[in-house]
């Protein structure tokens, strides 16, 4: 069995493969990479680094996007 790690995504605990990248996580969640921002442990990632940035135990990932909002 592949090794898994625990991470936190948008405030929720979840498991992912020990060798997973941020790009893998987004694909698993069916989130298109355009028009999302990803923060890893409070650092904003450049979109072009999603596939290079590996995840480690205890990482905190925030995935944000635009929603309706006003004044």
């Amino acid at each position: 069995m592949a090794e898994t790690i625990q991470i936190q995504v948008n405030g929720e605990q979840r498991g992912c493969g020990a060798d997973a990248t941020v790009g893998d996580l987004l694909r698993e969640l069916a989130i298109k990479t355009e028009r999302v921002a990803v923060e890893l442990n409070l650092e904003i990632l450049d979109r072009k680094d999603f596939d290079h940035q590996s995840l480690k135990q205890g990482d905190r990932v925030e995935i944000l996007s635009f929603i309706g909002g006003g004044v």
Binding site: I44, F66, I67, G68, V71
Partner: protein, 257 residues
């Protein structure tokens, strides 16, 4: 008024009505209302993606960023750190360096914390953001925002979502006379006459959300706002007559029996 374009940070904008995208029933209604308003600047918020229900559609599937200037905000931020964080996230998620900066001071009034606003604006401008600050109707703060490099100032008409209209036309007028960058009256508009009044005072544009989204018929109200802003702008450019206490006859006395 075909040549009466609003230019902000090098961008030419067609409409002097700017609209928010919150509080609509669904994205289809949002899209229809925005089309009816004729607005080409639309504000959006930045929030967590729903990772448990991915069936939800994306707002930007309905609003083509090629057609609209998407203006992300930092709504809901009550301190400098959060506002700066959300601005950076908006830029990372998005389309440009534009940010409608809000640093709120109080949950009940949603009035801006202007000290925090200036501090956050300084940080973001240094990072290359084009900061459009939501501020109080305070001419001194407005001037400070310009001095640190904001290309526009966005004073409120009344508390966000209150629909109270222009509460302090005199302060707004002073801001419009004193401040040499475009003034966008932001928040507090209730109905079309409020929008027209803001424009008659000399506002360069009006930004609203609840007045349209919260109306019984948002699409009809969006259209009403389009005409109100247009009429108000025309009246401002035309130059109103001075107010006088007593009558001046419009019909000549000469030739009377």
């Amino acid at each position: 008024m075909t040549d009466d374009r609003l230019i902000i940070a090098g961008r030419e904008l067609k409409s002097r009505l700017w609209v928010g995208t919150g509080k609509y029933k669904d994205f289809a209604e949002t899209k229809k209302a925005i089309e009816a308003s004729g607005a080409d600047v639309v504000t959006v918020a930045v929030r967590r993606v729903n990772i448990t229900d991915r069936s939800k559609e994306n707002l930007l599937d309905y609003l083509d960023p090629k057609k609209y200037t998407i203006l992300p905000n930092t709504a809901g931020c009550y301190n400098v750190e959060d506002a700066v964080r959300y601005a950076r996230l908006a830029r990372a998620a998005g389309v440009s360096d534009l940010i409608k900066l809000e640093v709120l001071g109080d949950e009940r009034t949603l009035f801006p914390d202007t000290a925090g606003l200036i501090e956050a604006a300084k940080i973001l401008i240094k990072e290359g953001f084009i900061v459009l600050p939501y501020t109080n109707d305070d001419p001194i703060v407005a001037q400070k925002l310009v001095d640190i490099g904001c290309p526009v100032v966005m004073p409120l008409a009344a508390p966000i979502g209150s629909g109270l209209g222009i509460r302090n036309p005199y302060n707004l007028k002073i801001i419009m006379e004193m401040i040499k960058v475009p003034i966008i009256v932001d928040a507090g508009v209730g109905t079309a006459s409020d929008a027209a009044f803001a424009m008659e005072l000399g506002a360069d544009a009006v930004l609203m959300n609840t007045a349209i989204a919260g109306a019984q018929d948002p699409i009809a109200m969006a259209e009403a706002m389009k005409y109100a802003v247009y009429a108000g702008r025309l009246a401002y450019k035309a130059g109103r007559i001075p107010r006088k206490l007593y009558a001046t006859a419009s019909s000549p006395i000469e030739g009377m029996l």
